[in-house]
């Protein structure tokens, strides 16, 4: 099997240029590529278009890149919980394209699967549909949405092997598998990197063909946004 392993995040993101279009996995702070984000913050890559369901919080996740004004545009479904984001958006420093969450997921899935456009009912009759083609199928109205493809996709998995196969854990899966397939170059960071052949071939979520670089990340913080517990 083809070996996709690189040393670390710094090496993995070294060739991401200014003004690149990135996809970043995660829902809220769950399943985000923490190591790659840190490396991009250190590298100060600027003018980025980031496709990510959320924009992190002020001091974590994509918020760290916003602090340094590395992001030119966000394509997201929900961008609350972030004061600096709000400031940049209102001042016009940051451009935002809001898209329904399911449409975002499907557009990314379409990008990886070679489907340039598809019809969805989400947003019909709302401002999301403005300027888009609408059409009736079986008595219901739909609008046409286009695929999304990124120069680089940065994904975070639980386990991965040297061939790039990935397994996600819990709800940290979210947008990661579709993004892995929709990146021209996909960089996967994993909590545990194992030799090819150790993962159950029947239980792999992302086939290695989609992953160009993989490394074992370090120091995962996995910050929790809403720690909710019940008493025993």
């Amino acid at each position: 099997m083809i070996n996709k392993v690189v040393d670390n995040a710094e090496v993995a993101v070294a060739d991401i240029p200014n003004n690149a279009t990135l996809m970043l996995g995660g829902f809220g702070l769950c399943g985000i590529p923490e190591n790659c984000i840190s490396a991009l913050v250190a590298k100060k890559t600027a003018g980025l278009t980031c496709i990510s369901n959320n924009a992190g919080v002020d001091d974590f996740g994509i918020g760290l890149m916003l602090q340094q004004r590395q992001v030119k545009k966000m394509i997201s479904s929900y961008v609350g919980e972030n004061k600096e984001f709000e400031r940049q958006l209102l001042s016009g420093e940051l451009e935002v394209e809001l898209t329904p969450q399911g449409t975002l997921a499907e557009r990314i899935r379409a990008g990886g699967a070679g489907i340039p456009a598809f019809f969805t009912p989400a947003g019909y009759g709302t401002e999301v549909a403005e300027g888009k083609e609408t059409r009736e199928f079986d008595g219901k109205m739909y609008l046409m949405e286009n695929w999304l493809i990124a120069d680089f996709a940065l994904v975070k998995a639980w386990k991965g092997d040297t061939a790039g196969n990935l397994v996600f854990k819990g709800t940290a899966r979210n947008f990661n598998p579709m993004m892995a397939a929709a990146g021209k170059i996909t960089i996967a960071e994993v909590e545990e990197l194992v030799p090819a052949g150790e993962l159950d071939p029947n239980a792999i979520h992302t086939p290695g063909v989609f992953v160009q670089r993989i490394f074992q990340g370090t120091g995962y913080e996995k910050r929790i946004e809403q720690r909710t517990v019940s008493s025993n």
Binding site: G28, P100, Q101, G123, Y124, V128, M178, R223
Partner: protein
């Protein structure tokens, strides 16, 4: 007496049926989970990739990799299953979820809903709400009858940017239960305990349909 938010949730829980798969929005809808009748099999979907939401975890079982769509730490139950966001919204868009319960800023008498944006204020985004309301077979809105300025949220037409059109089937507020009828209008089904029809009329800007004696809701 008008219901509190737990009362609204408790009344909505009566709409659940055995075998339902249900998506609960953030806020009052989340509270519905506390009132699922004993012995009734209802499976809760979290659109970030889980079917089978369990109770909040105990302190020692908190897992940062297991959250709901409100970003709260949660647990799973026997038979839970995890999937990607694309698969999750495929499930939603494909009509596989029996009931969606969500909050709203405004509902119009033809079932339009506005719940994601207030022009001139910070826009947080629609999240999964547009997908949910465009796809669900059955949508119940849980909300206050009037906003904090005393303005009715049951309107002839929504004034805020829409989330979806012709989709809301039922509304439960602190004052009562309302059906959005196909020909347009809010049909009063039940009054909250001690709430008069007069009070409901005074708080409703949209067309109210009162067909017969309106019962008080029972729990």
């Amino acid at each position: 007496m008008a219901l509190d938010k737990n009362g609204i949730a408790q009344r909505i829980a009566k709409e659940l049926k055995d075998g339902y798969y249900v998506n609960l929005g953030i806020g009052i809808p989340t509270l519905v989970a506390n009132y699922i009748p004993e012995g009734m099999d209802v499976v809760l979907q979290s659109e970030n990739g889980l079917l089978g939401i369990g109770p909040f975890p105990t302190e020692e079982n908190v897992d940062a990799d297991l959250i709901n769509a409100g970003k709260q730490t949660i647990s799973m139950v026997d038979g839970s299953v995890l999937f990607s966001s694309a698969d999750s919204f495929g499930m939603i868009r494909g009509g596989h979820i029996d009931l969606t319960i969500l909050g709203a800023m405004e509902v119009s008498e033809n079932g339009d809903i506005a719940n994601w944006k207030i022009p001139g204020k910070m826009v947080k985004g629609m999240g999964g709400a547009m997908d949910l309301v465009a796809s669900a077979k059955n949508i119940i809105v849980a909300m206050r009858h009037v906003d904090k300025y005393g303005k009715s949220k049951l309107l002839p037409e929504c004034s805020l940017p829409l989330t979806g059109v012709n989709c809301v089937k039922k509304i439960v507020t602190e004052l009562g239960v309302f059906e959005v009828v196909p020909e347009g209008g809010f049909k009063v089904l039940e009054r909250a305990p001690g709430v008069s029809l007069e009070e409901i009329k005074n708080s409703t800007a949209g067309k109210l349909i009162v067909e017969e004696e309106i019962p008080e809701m029972a729990f």
